[in-house]
Assembly symmetry: C2
Homo-oligomer: 338 residues x 2
Amino acid sequence: MTNSPTASMTETRYHVVGIGNAIVDVLAHADDQFINETGLTKGTMSLIDEETAESVYTKMGPGIECSGGSAANTIAGLASLGADGAFIGKVKDDQLGGVFRHDITSMGIAYNTAPDTDGASTARCMIHVTPDAQRTMQTYLGACVNLGPDDIDEHMISISQVTYLEGYLWDPEQAKKAFVKAAKAATDAGRLVSLSLSDPFCVDRHRDDFLNLVEGHVDVLFANEEEIMSLYQTESFDDALQAARAHCSIAALTRSEKGSVVLSGDEVHIVDAEPIDVVADTTGAGDAYAAGFLYGLTTGESLDTCARIGSICASEVISHVGARPDVSFKDLVRKKLG
Amino acid sequence: MTNSPTASMTETRYHVVGIGNAIVDVLAHADDQFINETGLTKGTMSLIDEETAESVYTKMGPGIECSGGSAANTIAGLASLGADGAFIGKVKDDQLGGVFRHDITSMGIAYNTAPDTDGASTARCMIHVTPDAQRTMQTYLGACVNLGPDDIDEHMISISQVTYLEGYLWDPEQAKKAFVKAAKAATDAGRLVSLSLSDPFCVDRHRDDFLNLVEGHVDVLFANEEEIMSLYQTESFDDALQAARAHCSIAALTRSEKGSVVLSGDEVHIVDAEPIDVVADTTGAGDAYAAGFLYGLTTGESLDTCARIGSICASEVISHVGARPDVSFKDLVRKKLG
């Protein structure tokens, strides 16, 4: 943070640098039967290989393509709020890689990660949106598996108030090393490290590592109800909350229509979800919440206001298909907060 | 039509076969200043080369990609209505070509046109959606210029009640020959030929050819107000209407929020537009209207009902970003017509 003695010695250029899987989403409507027959668990993300990706795509209805990726969505949200953002993540130099690069740079986000010139194609996430507006995701990581420590720009991290990392990075082996290098660089520069737990199954795959990270290396933790309960293997949200409270500097825990809970030392805030008419597609809700929260945090807002901004941003992306803002978050927040 | 003596001798497999440019749309929000500074005329389509396409794309904001193309949109609309459709159009076997093929075949539409394996990439249409919901298009035709007479499957045409051709086909040189071959095959098989005039500038580029087509070869003409006035070079819609009445077997003339006018011999119908709350993006309105109209026509509905179905379909696609149906046209029409 700019008020830390170390950070004050360094120029601050970015509010947040995000590091994550660089993915193009393919979104299509699906019914519950499709989810069941494909053996998927609604609301979660599973990893698939290229062959399965092709086969799943064949079975999907007509879709729309747009840039996605959890941390990338959050940085896009920050840009829409008027913040300065940067992103690190790996694409191939193919058509979808070009789409990802275009979308992120056209929002004014710094994005310098060198693309792969051969090997696996740009990552795709098949998103099945059911009539209840839930999204169930199948991700082919493609070029993302080639993100490694060499892609981490330590200078970029040192000039960013927050380094934001998605838990999904723990899936590709090299990205895990990149994650650790980035977190260390941020801490060494006196900056904040923020982690999103991403998905309950992802937490399940990497629980010990995540517990270790949250205990000693993460300043701001984002998780939803299922993820925090999975992390601490509790039966109730309240039990998970007590555990998080003991271990995290700041934890922002989201609960869909029940709103969010923010914990920091003695502070506890319970903030309502922003009401909306119709929920169309929940893809990107958590990413947008994190964008709003981090915007508040890096512009000096109180924690309850951070949560409120997060809720407003989340309400926008769930009102339409696709994970990124369809209107300016900045205008929306100005209108809602007054 | 199935009631013509020639056609009754042939099996009927498809309600409509569409022939058109096979295009992936890139849609992004833009302001009026962008339209002016780029020297574009709002509401129209202009052709661009690949270099310009790259340069325009760089200047556009973050976008969504989805399958488009005028005739392809119409066939997608027919499929959404439950009709049997087929499509002929050229892509390259690249990523966007794969997207186009997936989207059209996943709707149950027959699509057998061989893709190009080298040369220009799959066509893209950059669509700038302004706050007034108007769309202004810039098209890089890419692989579409390689659609030629050899791609016309005369058997497919002979087993389709209607062969639907977009005026835009008159832009690539080889496609023009494909168009003529297809129209002849349809007429020879005792089937109907339908033409959409596509765009007032497109009419301007090819007026003499279009006048000749409408006079002698087209059974069902679709045009909006600007296009029909451009075709007959009239100052008023009423003058254009009188000219169309003298030359077309069936003409369906669309007038945005003023509804549509259908002419056929002594018959004249003036049908209101379907009211909707908010117009988000007019991309594909005419294509969806043609889908609804042709669905009515090929299932034995009266001309006024054809127009009504067209209006209902158009109202759906203008209520969201993108040219293709977001919900089932069939369900929507059933609900609205009762």
